[in-house]
Every structure is written in C-alpha cells, then in structure tokens.
Amino acid sequence: MGSNMAECHPVGFQWVVEAKERGAKVIHIDPRYTRTSAAADLHVPLRAGSDIAFLGGVINYILENGREFREYVEEYTNARAIIREDFQDTEDLDGLFSGWDPDTRTYDPESWGYAGADHGQWATSGEQTHGAHGVELERGELPREDETLEDPNCVFQILKRHFSRYTPEVVEALCGVPAETFLKVAETLCDNSGRERTSAFVYSVGWTQHTVGVQYIRSAAIVQLLLGNQGRPGGGILALRGHANIQGSTDIPTLYNILPSYIPMPEPREEPTLATFAEMQGPSTGAWAELRSYTTSLLKAWWGDAATKDNDFCFGRIPKIDGDHSNYATMLRMLDDEVKGFFVVGENPAVGSANGKLQRLAMAHLDWLVVRDTNMIETATFWCDSPEIETGELSPEEIGTEVFFMPAAAHTEKDGTFTNTQRLLQWHHKAVEPPEECRSELHFFFHLGRKIREKLADSSEDRDRGVLDLTWDYPTLGEHAEPDAETILQEINGRNLETGELIRAYDELKDDGSTSSGSWLHTGIYADGVNQSARKKPGREQTWVAPEWAWSWPKNQRIMYNRASADPEGRPWSERKKYMWWDAEKDCWTGFDSPDFTRDKAPDYVPPEDARGLAALTGREPFIVHPDGLGWLFAPSGVVDGPLPTHYEPQESPFENPLYTQQQNPTRQLYDRAANPYNPSLSEVFPYVLTSYRLTEHHTAGGMSRTIGYLSELQPELFCEVSPQLAAERDLVHGDWATIVTTRTAIEARVLVTDRLKPLEVQGRAVNQVGLPYHWGQRGIVTGDSVNDLFSLALDANVHIQEVKAATCEVLAGRRPRGRALLEFVDEYRRKAGVTGHGS
C-alpha cells in the first residue's frame, strides 16, 4: 500500500516475485494500476488519501470477528493498559481528541496517558516528537491493567469503540473500494497471519506524503500488532526508503531536530544541562533509559578531551532548538528575507519540493546560495531559466542572490556506506577518482571546517570554542587530501577511552565520559577492528538470514523486536516460523539472528525493585525501546496528532469528511499566504483528485536521469495518466496536450488515456483521479513543466512532510498559456474558486 515497489524498488522487488512464485499472495492497493499491480494477485484501486479508512476497516474486521492473535496481543501489546479517565476520543468530540487547544492548534497529550502514570512532564511540544521517549513508568510496569481486556477504559476496548465505525460500507463510501473487494483483502490478510503464517506491509511515500502521513503508518502498526506480525520472519511494516542512503541520513541525521541515533535536539529552556536533558528526554526504563550514556559518549566523540565532567561534557555547545526549522518553514522565512545564506547539498528543491514557484521565489531573496551537486540542476540556475523568468515574476538583473555551484563526486568516486531500507549499512569502495573539481561531501565539509577553524584560530570569543574544541583531525588520503572515511566510521563506532578499544555494543557506553561513540545505534559496526559493513559473504555460503553480509544497526539485527518471534515461554510460535528462541540448556537466546533482547534474560525474568533501563523489562516484553516493552496499539505519547489514527480528508478534497464535522487533520501545518494559496475543499472549480509519483525510468527531480540519454529516451515527456471517462468529460485527446490547473499555477503535459486509471464511486458519486510523475524540469536532455509547481505546502505536523499524494485540480485539453497570460489564467481560476491567497 502506498508503494509502487516494482517501479521504485525494482531490484528489491525480485524478492516479492520470488515469494509469489513460492505461493505468497501479493495485493497492491494503489489509486493507479501500476507495474506493481501487474505483478500482483490482486490490485485494489482506492481514492488517494483514504488509506486510514481502509486500514481502520481492517482493524474493525479483525476485532469484530475475533481474528486477532489473542496470546500475542495479550502478552506483547499494551492492549491491557488502562488509559486515563479524562481521555476523550474523536468519536466523543466529533473529530478531536481530548487536550485540543484551538489557539495553538496543538494537542496537550496529557490525557492520552496511562492511568496512574506520572505523565505530565513528558508532554511533547509540537516540535519535539521523540517516538517512545515520553512515558515514565515504575519498573516499566503498567500502573493499571486488565488482563481480560474487558475494562471499558483499557486500550483494547477503546480500540474496539474507536474503529467500530469503519464498517465495510464506510470503507466503500470513503475509499471507493467495493465492500466485497475490501472483505477479500481483510480475509486474505487474516488467513495469512497467526502462529503458522505471517504477512508484511510494504509502504513508501504513497503513505507518508499526506497531512496525516504518520497516522497512516500507525494504522498499519495496529493491524500488524493485532495479527502478531511484528518481530517475526515474513512480517513487519517495511518502509521502502528513498534515495539510496536516505535511511542513513536519518540515522545520522541531516535533520534539524534530532542528533545521531534519534537523540532529540535539546530544548533551550527546560534542558539547560545534560542532567536535566537526560532526565526529561529519557525515561528510566527501556533502551532509552541510557540516553545520558549515549549523549555523553556522543559529546566525547565530538569534543574529545575538551569534553569533561566539569564543563558538562560541552553539552552547552550543542545548538538548542527554538522552533520549527524544518525545510519548508525555512523556505518561508527565506521568502520573508530572514535567511541570508543557503547550502543545497544533493537536493533539487526548485523541482523536487512542493510549490516549486515558492521555492524559487524564496531563493531569489538570498544573499548567497551554495549548490553542491553532481549535475548542473534547476536549483543552481533558477535565476536564469526558471518559469518565473518567462512570466516576468523574476528577472536575472534584479536577483541579488550570488550562486556558487560546487561539483560533487558521485558515490562511485568515494568510499562510504549506503544504509538501505533494512537498516543494512553496505560499504562501497571508490572505483574511480572524481574528475576535475568534483569532491566528496566529506572532503568539502572537512576542509570547510578546517578553514573556519583557521580563521577563528586566535579568537578569544567563548562562542567560537564550540568550533575550535571539536576533534577535527581526520587523517587524509591522496593528492586531494580526502578524509579517510574508515577513520570516521571508527569514531562513529566509538571507543573505550581507557583501553582505547573499539566499542562492541551500546550496552558498553557509560555516562562518565569513559566512552565515546558518534552514534550509539551504530556501536559495533567496527567491532574487533573490522569494518563490518564491508562484509560481502555471498548468501549461498551462510544461513538464509545472511548475517555476514554487511552490517545492520542495532547489533547487526536483521529483524527488530525479534523476541516476539517466540511465545512468552520462549518457544517458537510454530516450526514454520521459527526464528529466535530461548535455549534452556545454554541459558540464552539463540536462533538465526542476533537477539535484540538481552541475550541471557530468561522468559520468566522479573525485574528487581530498583531496576532501570533494559533490566526493568520482564522476560516477555519484546519492544525494548518502549518504557513498558510493549507494542503500542494506543500511543500514549510521541505522536502529536492523536494516540489513535482516524480518517481526515486531505487539505484539498472534493469530498466532505462523512465521519466528523472536523474535515481535515486539525494539527496539519498550513501557510495560507499569497505565495501558497489552497484549493478550497469541495470546490467544483477543482473537481479531480490529483496525485503525483515516480516512474522507473527517471529519478525524483530528474537531475540524475534527465541528464542521461539512455534514461531520457525511455520517458521523454511529462504526461498525465487519466481514465477514458475523464478524457471524455474534458475532451482530452490521447497523445495530445492537457493543462492541469491548481490555485498555485497551471502546467502542461501529454495525455495518456488508460484503463489503468478508472473512476471510483465515492459517497455515491464517481470521482476521477489524475496521475502525474514529477520528474521534469527546465534543464537536461528532456525537459518539461515541474509537477511540484501545482502543489501547496500543507504539512503533517509530526514530520513536516508535504501533501503531494492527494490534492485537487482541474484538467483542460490543450497547452497552457505562456508568459504573463499564464498568471492571468491562474488568477481567473482563483477568482472562480473564491481564493484570495491571503488567509482565506
């Protein structure tokens, strides 16, 4: 669901094909019939933006028909937990949960907590959403619970009530999926889950790029926990990541609100010292209880000897977070002249980011812009060839931005790792020297840092010490003085600073400054002085889990929470699904993988009174990053838009939310301003559902594919996919041109009329969907309008991701107007739709 795996992860898809050959059933749930659908047993078209309703239907089906994996649910999930009396559901508050503050448009999650738990201080602000950190529990025990799952306030009963409205009929009305088709999916899923069988969900950005994206995935998590498909072979929720190393860039983040290994960025006010920070962000039980050790080791890795107990290990040197500095928020500040300079490294926002025009206009407000890329991309040339030059909104003469283009070395021209979707770090060796001026990121940032430090060398300013005290002494190789990537990998792995030995696992990390580690989850990647990520032992020479191919965090575990692959007593749920089990003779966990559970913790282990951290979890609590060691059917903290998923319409939708008067996700982030107007909901002016996606033949914003002849010739022009019915409605001619209009702008595309798109019957009327691949832009061998110019900035409040998977639009036959005429053309549509673009 929400993934077009065959087209976007074709190499990984070989395993799906193989599984199917071995009898696995493959179901593809996607608005369009794609190359993945062609390879599936069943394709279920649904309306873009309605997945929560669909999954809610599945959850309801499971609970109504008692299809849940009872023992798994009772033992391994928080189904039995009792939630506070004052919790109120969307069902009670017409689409809102308790704790809603209409002024800040945020929730106070206090009332979502476990009854009897001290929860208050863990309230997560709109900015800080640290998954499972924020629940404090004595000895990791649920303060109040009901094993029978009967208590009206226990999670299981709340779940039942909450999802009871998602009947097959409601699914049909919301998603446009016939009830019988839906039931076929639900049955197949249940029939293939349990002791003997497991089922997996695969999702990608078809799920994330919504104003309720995070809740889509929460829905799947609930399904998988109810069916016992987590922590077991063949189960799970597989998030197929994007760029070859996008997973790596979240683990050791290029994100603004987390530090390596998901350590939250400190808050300026509440967390002045390491102590308070660790206390406030880290619960005392579960893996996060050691937050202080992880952070201290991180500080030691960065500031080395300069980080001492006395100066709080330089904790004060870490920049504090004072609000939303996510990508889009920054672009908007840029538009308001609040951002002077901008580094764009391996990204092409002029084409790849939603509301492309806003992106380009914003960059025209910069003093300077540095673009590091392997190709000359639209972001580097926006000042001379962007569509706004044609419309006269920008002119090269008047743009003051000084643009520096720095050619980058490609992955074949440098050493390093890719972290794939399975958290597998795979080392790649430099194959050729980078040509001419091209240099690696490592080279650029190391030498940039070096030069800055030189300039600051004799500064007495305290604020400069943060830079000057950094350990910045990486050995370099070759004529270009390329920093040695393996040394950096060792720093990430970390050392015991007394013995100088490399750390083997994060359990070894201390909070007294005696250990260092650049990323606690990566400890062990250089264990025994060996670059574990460079292991390339062929699969046929080892077990089917192939633990000796590369290395995965944490602790080279291939399946997380794998304690759940055994029953509470530690026996495999079934011979067929055997994975990890308790070996009574050897008194330890054994199996095909390495246990992500404490190796020698017996199933009957009960924590002592004063137990902290992992020791505070019993022998039958697999979800070790949670303070209670349980899988969260109900999320008492960590999600800013509700403890349970529920269906909201996308920001732009031709339909009313039939469930509540609350039309959209109340917490969604909007920026209603001239540069970012929204199509009104239910507007006849924009009657069609618009979604965007990828093609196998191109890559994202096109810098890597439109520049290559062999790829360009495979898909030379931007096209829109429409059903024969829509084509008839708007007299679109196959192969000819169409103009697609939103309140942002209008673009033109070739018309591909195909049976692979078909109208769906939603709330009693037929709705047509328009599909657009978003790979085209101004430059390259093949060029075309940028689809992102059509979309607005409407973001999910948890992760600030744009809603580019479900919007509305109008479609007309023929090409779009040129130059100024285009602006007038779009203004006309704004007028018709009653959009001022100034806080409507």
């Binding site: 074709p10 659908s37 062609a38 002849g709 022009e717």
Partner: protein
C-alpha cells in the same frame, strides 16, 4: 574467424569450429516474470555503447523506443489489455467487465486480476539468434557469421552496409544505422561470452525474466515452467521459439508469452525464407532460360 563458417550451410552448428566449438548459448526470456523496468534495455546500451536517440512521447503505454532496431537491441514491449470475456461488450465499464469475466487465478505475474479488468503485458524482445538465420544466409560479405556459441553476430569491420539482411530477417530485428551505414543488432554479448561473463541484459534483470544459459538446459527449464503454469490454470502461457521444428529451426533466444506472438509484435509462424533458396534459383535460371529463348526466337525466328 569469419572464414571458418563460409560453408553453404550456415545453420547453427559448432562443427565448423572443431576444437574451439562451445555449447550453444541462448536466452529464455520468461515474460511472465517481467516487471517492465527496462534495466535490460539500458544495460545493453551501456555495455555496447549503443547511441541513444530521444524520441517524442509515443502514447503507446510506457513504450517510447517502440521496436528493436539498430539502436535498440533489447526492447521492452508494453501491452495494456482488458478482460477478454465480454470486455468489448462492456467497453465503458471496466469493473463490470471484470465481474462478468471469470478471472484467471493469479500465478506468475501479469495475470488478469479478480476485481480488475486490466492486464498489463511486458516483454523484453531481442534478436532470436535463429538456428537458420536468414540475415546470415543472405549476407554477401560474411560480415554476419555464426560464432562458436551458435550465436549470430555482425562483424562491423566487414559489413559494407548492403542492407540485404534487413528485409531478410523475419522478425524485423536487424537494421541499418543512418549516420554510420552499417547494420547493428544484439551480439548476445559475444565479447562477454568469450570472457565467460553472462550478457549485460540478463545480468541486469532483477527478476530473472531474462535467463541466460546453454540452450538445451534452457529448453528443459522452459518446459517445466510451462507445465507448472498450466497446472496453476494460467493456460494462456505458451513457449515461443522453443521448438527446433519451427520455420527457423528453433530460436537461440526463445520466450514464454502470455498471449499470441502478434500481440507483442512477433510473427506467429516466422520462416527463414532463405530455406526456399533452391526454388529461388530455379526461378532465376528458368527466367534466364526463357530470356535466352526469347532472344533466340526474336533473332532466328523466321519472318512471316
């Protein structure tokens, strides 16, 4: 080594290579496993430095390169189909068409699916490396020759661009490159084979839709596959070019298709027309004789 195969019989046989003969190599392209990723098409061009020529948007599903030719040696075809049963009747309503039809139960891929009226066929086409190769038969220069692997390859340093092989090929595979004047087609990666490497396209194929190996072994594998699919009810599956009895005496690169060959743009009963060369010469000589007779008659025939 071209000269070793200048016998009149150009059919695939390693004999002429004596010592250096190798088992006949080929492809089994199982289109039921193809996901249309076009990696084969690109890998081929990368390895063989085949020029790219960027076309216009074709509107023919996801196919823009459209056919095999001098600059496309692997070509992935895309065919969008509707549920056959009553599909035409219910032309406007897919859902209905789907419900009326009793769908083939899913096996392999690219099947019609329950609840859906659509099937999307994808198939990676390539030179067939015919056992009896018309292109090779008609080549006057010997530029086209039979390798020790039983494959059919053009020697670009010999080809003089006479163009005879182009209309000779019953599959429309080989073609002349405009700017260059010579003809080009799949070499079955002759260079890689000689280094014991598998062809670039097969190597790139993620789903093993393209299977490379010894022809005999591939034929057995294909038979087993076909039986399995038939058992699973996918009776529309068929092998194409797997039999030595066909009009080109069997393909070196054969296929498993899910519909009739012509749907993929392949001839249903291809024939190496050169097998009629005897008749052709008879005709030529008869014509020549008639001409001689005519002249004689005109000159010696007595006036009336």
């Amino acid at each position: 080594m071209g000269h070793r195969v200048l016998t009149l019989d150009t059919r695939a046989s390693a004999e002429s290579y004596g010592e250096s003969a190798r088992p006949r190599m080929g492809f089994f392209t199982d289109t039921s496993l193809c996901i249309g990723c076009k990696a084969c098409e690109v890998a081929c061009k990368e390895w063989n430095h085949v020029p790219a020529d960027v076309p216009e948007f074709s509107g023919k599903s996801y196919d823009n390169t459209l056919s095999l030719g001098a600059n496309t040696w692997r070509h992935v075809a895309f065919v969008e189909q509707r549920k056959p049963v009553g599909a035409e009747a219910a032309a406007e309503d897919l859902v209905e068409a789907a419900e009326r039809a009793n769908a083939v139960d899913g096996f392999g891929i690219q099947t019609y699916q329950d609840g859906d009226g659509v099937r999307w066929l994808m198939s990676s086409d390539v030179c067939k490396h015919c056992t009896s190769a018309a292109c090779l038969d008609v080549c006057p220069t010997g530029a086209l020759f039979r390798t020790e692997f039983g494959t059919v390859v053009v020697q670009d340093d010999v080809c003089n661009g006479c163009g005879y092989c182009v209309p000779a090929c019953p599959f429309g595979v080989i073609d002349r490159r405009e700017d260059d004047g010579r003809v080009w087609k799949c070499t079955l990666c002759y260079d890689r084979l000689r280094d014991d490497m598998e062809p670039a396209c097969a190597h790139a194929c993620p789903t093993d839709s393209i299977q490379f190996g010894e022809l005999d072994e591939l034929r057995e594998r294909a038979e087993r596959r076909l039986e399995r699919m038939a058992e699973a009810g996918q009776t529309e599956a068929r092998l194409y070019g797997a039999d030595p009895e066909d009009g080109v005496d069997g393909f070196g690169a054969f296929f498993l298709l899910l519909d009739e060959p012509e749907v993929y743009g392949l001839p249903p009963d291809p024939v190496a027309t050169t097998r009629d060369v005897g008749q052709v010469w008879t005709g030529v000589l008869a014509g020549a004789a008639a001409l001689g007779a005519g002249i004689a008659a005109a000159v010696f025939g007595r006036r009336r």
